[in-house]
């Protein structure tokens, strides 16, 4: 890239405990252009954006704004320099109105120090008109659809007159027409000299809107190019890496009986009342088989797995383990029937931070070491040390605090916890989320071992590279339904991505 770099990250590194999220990244934001940043989950995109917007400080390296080194202590300092971020996870207060959210922390005040609600309201109305979204400024954010909330988030970033706008997955909850409006606004902005960093899993959408494409993989920039020179294959190839291999599915095993049968299930969408997050999904997994569910954020993977595990109720349909209908059973009873879930967010749903490694590991199988009504310490020690050995957790010992382990080892503890219940079917929701490449390979190697022992393994992922190699079958979900099913041995990454709807939005727009 030649002239016109407004913001530059120079050799930026970031470590979180044992995780090396960014390994010396040089990233450039072109002035008045849209720079798209591509990369799989865990590649470090969000971390890089957090550093650019002052949310996090780099472990080493620095930022240069218009050629001068800068440091941001927090987002306010970054905002004062004209850098604004639209978060992937919404950062709105649902209990406040649209107007209050947009002016949160920088209210327009009158001479007496009171808030000038009329002025705020007028500005918000103008912003909404510009975004072609007729939302009344006094509406509570809690009453808005997810897509509308995203619009509010965008409006807030626009209202500060940012010179550099970072958009992390701004379209994930938007409809096709809302995306078109957003793109129009983005083009208007760049025409007035605003620079935009754009992150999206909808690759073709990002290709359409961006001027430059940068690809991040495992914490390093692997490619940078002007967008008109690149195509989808170039991006996907750089994102997943040509030679990354998670191993082979166990081939020698003849699948025996159907271990898990999911039949036409429907699950309500808690954030959008009246809509379904899972709409009529049916699938089967045999003992010894590894099945991968691929889908974008919001495709309904998590909801489907949580419903199977008994965390959320089914509106319709059945879940059967080895022919036994699980309807109406509690989570504990489902675990007894041999169905275990390793949840997506291990901090929130998988681990008890106040407990040690060993106590976390034994939590789901306390019943197996109760003698005469009391927990047997020796039996527990045996179970815990076996669990630690089996999944190869690297820890100072069973008494170590769970927070002292790296992400990958924490994930292994959660897996070991569920394995200690002797499941027949194990569901894993994004088992590789937030862990590094080495740990990823170990976790998937573990799945392969489990299948060899006759377990039925069903895991979900949003990284297409994790679908092939290890799984026997790939099921693609999109908008709560199964959109395609592939034999992993014969399919390609591009086929899977196409079925997930990753390219669907853009193909509608190819006429532009």
């Amino acid at each position: 890239m030649n002239a016109g770099v407004i913001l530059r990250a120079v050799n930026v590194e970031k470590r979180y405990g044992g995780t090396h999220a960014l390994k010396g990244v040089d990233f450039e934001v072109a002035e008045g252009k849209v720079t798209a940043l591509f990369g799989e989950n865990g590649a470090g995109k969000s971390t890089l954006m957090k550093i650019l917007s002052g949310i996090e400080a780099p472990t080493s390296g620095h930022l240069e704004l218009r050629g001068k080194p800068v440091r941001f202590a927090n987002t306010v300092e970054a905002r004062d320099q004209g850098i604004s971020i639209i978060h992937q996870e919404l950062s709105l207060c649902p209990n406040l109105s649209v107007r209050d959210n947009i002016y949160m922390g920088r209210e327009i005040t009158g001479p007496a120090g009171g808030v000038d609600y009329a002025a705020e309201r007028k500005n918000v109305q103008e912003l909404m008109a510009r975004l072609e979204e007729p939302i009344d400024p006094d509406t509570l954010v809690a009453d808005l659809r997810l897509g509308q909330q995203q619009i509010v988030e965008i409006a807030r970033a626009l209202s500060v007159n940012a010179r550099i706008l970072i958009m992390d997955e701004p379209t994930s909850a938007l409809s096709a027409s809302e995306v078109e409006v957003l793109f129009k606004v983005m083009r208007d902005l760049t025409a007035t000299g605003v620079s935009i960093v754009y992150i999206s899993h909808h690759l073709e959408e990002a290709i359409e809107i961006s001027d430059f494409a940068t690809v991040l993989r495992d914490g390093t920039i692997v490619a940078h190019e002007e967008t008109h020179n690149v195509d989808l294959d170039w991006i996907v190839g750089n994102m997943v890496g040509r030679n990354f291999d998670l191993g082979q599915p166990p081939a020698s095993i003849a699948f025996s009986d159907v271990a898990l049968e999911i039949n036409e299930i429907q699950v309500a969408d808690p954030s959008n009342p009246g809509r379904l997050s899972v709409d009529g999904v049916s699938l089967t997994v045999h003992s010894g088989e590894i099945v991968c569910i691929y889908g974008l954020m919001g495709a309904g993977r998590t909801e489907m797995l949580e419903a199977a595990a008994g965390r959320v109720p089914l509106l319709r349909g059945q879940v059967k383990v080895q022919g036994k209908d699980l309807n109406g059973l509690s989570i504990a009873e489902r675990i007894q029937q041999g169905l275990s879930l390793v949840p997506e967010d291990r901090q929130r749903d998988g681990l008890v931070q106040t407990m040690s490694v060993g106590r976390n590991l034994s939590l789901a199988s306390l019943g197996s070491f109760i003698k005469r009504g009391l927990l047997s310490g020796t039996a527990e020690d045996t179970l815990v040390s076996q669990g630690i050995r089996d999944v190869r957790v690297k820890t100072a010992g069973p008494g170590a605090a769970i927070g002292s382990l790296s992400g990958g080892n924490q994930q292994k503890v959660v897996i070991a916890k569920m394995l200690a219940t002797n499941p027949k079917v194990i569901l894993l929701d994004e088992p590789s989320r937030g862990i590094d490449v080495g740990a990823k390979a170990e976790v998937f190697g573990l799945l392969s071992e489990l299948a060899e022992k006759g377990l039925a393994v069903l895991y979900s992922t949003s990284e297409v590279g994790e679908c092939l190699s290890i799984a026997h079958r790939v099921i693609v979900m999109s908008k709560g339904r199964i959109s395609a099913e592939f034999d992993a041995a014969t399919t390609t990454k591009e086929q899977i991505m196409a079925a997930s709807g990753e390219s669907a939005t853009a193909s509608n727009m190819n006429g532009h």
Binding site: L341, G350, L375
Partner: protein, 372 residues
């Protein structure tokens, strides 16, 4: 104390590492505070350290320690039970009501239930109050603070309604009616130790056994530490929640019966603000109000610190107003030290474990290479 404050299942720090004096002082703070209090007051008053005074003070402590054991269960779950003080009053009044005799106009007789029935009914009433709290919190999702604040008023009102605002005096019973012995707990001593203290010891032992050796105890620590993770591990988090409020109500009722027995009278306003003392004991004992951390040993120490401090202040003749100031200061300092301890523990564990982490075999190749 060291092992009491490390994570469950952890090895005590002084076995593996060097002797870390500031850390030992921090972890043993409640115990140290108790010793300091005892030493200071025995210097100020010659009677303080006598066996008799220690036993009398222990009898005072017993009531709060019993309340605090129940409160600990609730706090371990991340909740709070503000209704225990009122339940103390109600349980005493219910026992007193039964001891006075229950007139049944329809039959023209007055029933005098035996003492054990009166005690059981009083404890049952405590369990019922706890069940209401637990149901409000777990089934209806009312915040524990609000739910138990509500029952605080309702239960106190009920106690006042039963007696009409009066006090049932003379609960000694009548030999002719066969209902004597209600004052047994309050006045009797076994091997020279007040019965109330023995009741406290028994409850503390049971509580300790439940917390450390039963699945229920593990469920409680887990659901207090992370309810979502506990639920997904198959733990019946709602049942746990209801149970702990029932336990807290039962403990409060037992405390109420002990007080009524000691006074041989039942006053509907007994136990006013006891919930705050119980919470203070739990906090001084090192439990976290956010749940998941704390143990019985700490709570007992906390109860003794508060009890020995307030009785000591009374003995050396400090005014009641100053007593309140001292107690309040102790509580605030205790909470500050708790925060310090949790933070230092976090840092220390990360340090010690991160250092000897074994080399990751799988990572020895270049990161982008196939790792299979």
């Amino acid at each position: 104390m060291s092992s009491a404050r490390t994570l469950p299942g952890a090895r005590p720090g002084w076995l593996s590492g060097g002797l870390d004096i500031p850390r030992l002082l921090l972890e043993g703070r409640a115990f140290i505070a108790l010793i300091v209090i005892t030493v200071i007051f025995s210097l100020l008053s010659p009677n303080y350290l006598s066996v008799n005074n220690l036993l009398t003070m222990s009898a005072h402590v017993a009531v709060f320690a019993i309340l605090a054991v129940g409160m600990l269960m609730v706090i371990l779950n991340g909740g709070i039970d503000l209704s225990v003080g009122s339940t103390v009053g109600l349980a005493g009044v219910v026992a007193g009501f039964l001891m006075q005799g229950v007139p049944i106009p329809a039959l023209g007789v007055t029933l005098y239930p035996p003492v054990w029935v009166a005690v059981l009914v009083a404890v049952g009433v405590g369990a019922f109050v706890g069940w209401i709290n637990g149901t409000l919190v777990s089934r209806f999702g009312v915040a524990p603070f609000v739910a138990t604040l509500g029952t605080l008023y309702v239960v106190r009102g009920a106690a006042l309604l039963i007696t009409g605002g009066l006090t049932y005096s003379n609960l000694r019973g009548n030999p002719e009616l066969g209902n004597t012995g209600f004052d047994w707990v309050g006045f009797n001593r076994i091997f020279g130790i007040p019965t109330g203290v023995l009741v406290m010891v028994v409850i503390a032992l049971i509580g300790s056994l439940v917390l450390t050796r039963t699945a229920f105890g593990r469920w409680l620590y887990a659901s207090g530490g992370n309810e979502r993770a506990a639920e997904l591990s198959g733990i019946p988090v709602k049942k746990v929640k209801v149970s702990i409020y029932v336990i807290s109500g039962v403990c409060a009722a037992i405390a109420g019966v002990i007080i009524a027995s000691e006074l041989t009278s039942a006053n509907p306003t007994t136990g006013n603000s006891f919930e705050l003392t119980a919470i203070a004991a739990v906090v001084i004992g090192g439990a976290a109000l956010s749940g998941g951390r704390g143990n019985i040993r700490g709570v007992l120490l906390g109860a003794f610190v508060i009890g020995f401090l307030s009785d000591g202040l009374v003995i050396i003749g400090v005014s009641e107003y100053w007593q309140m100031v001292f107690k309040g200061a102790v509580i605030v300092v205790a909470v500050m030290l708790n925060r310090l301890e949790y933070r230092s523990k976090k840092v220390k564990e990360v340090k010690t474990v991160a250092a000897p982490a074994p080399p990751e075999k799988m990572l020895q190749g270049t990161p982008n290479q196939p790792v299979s």
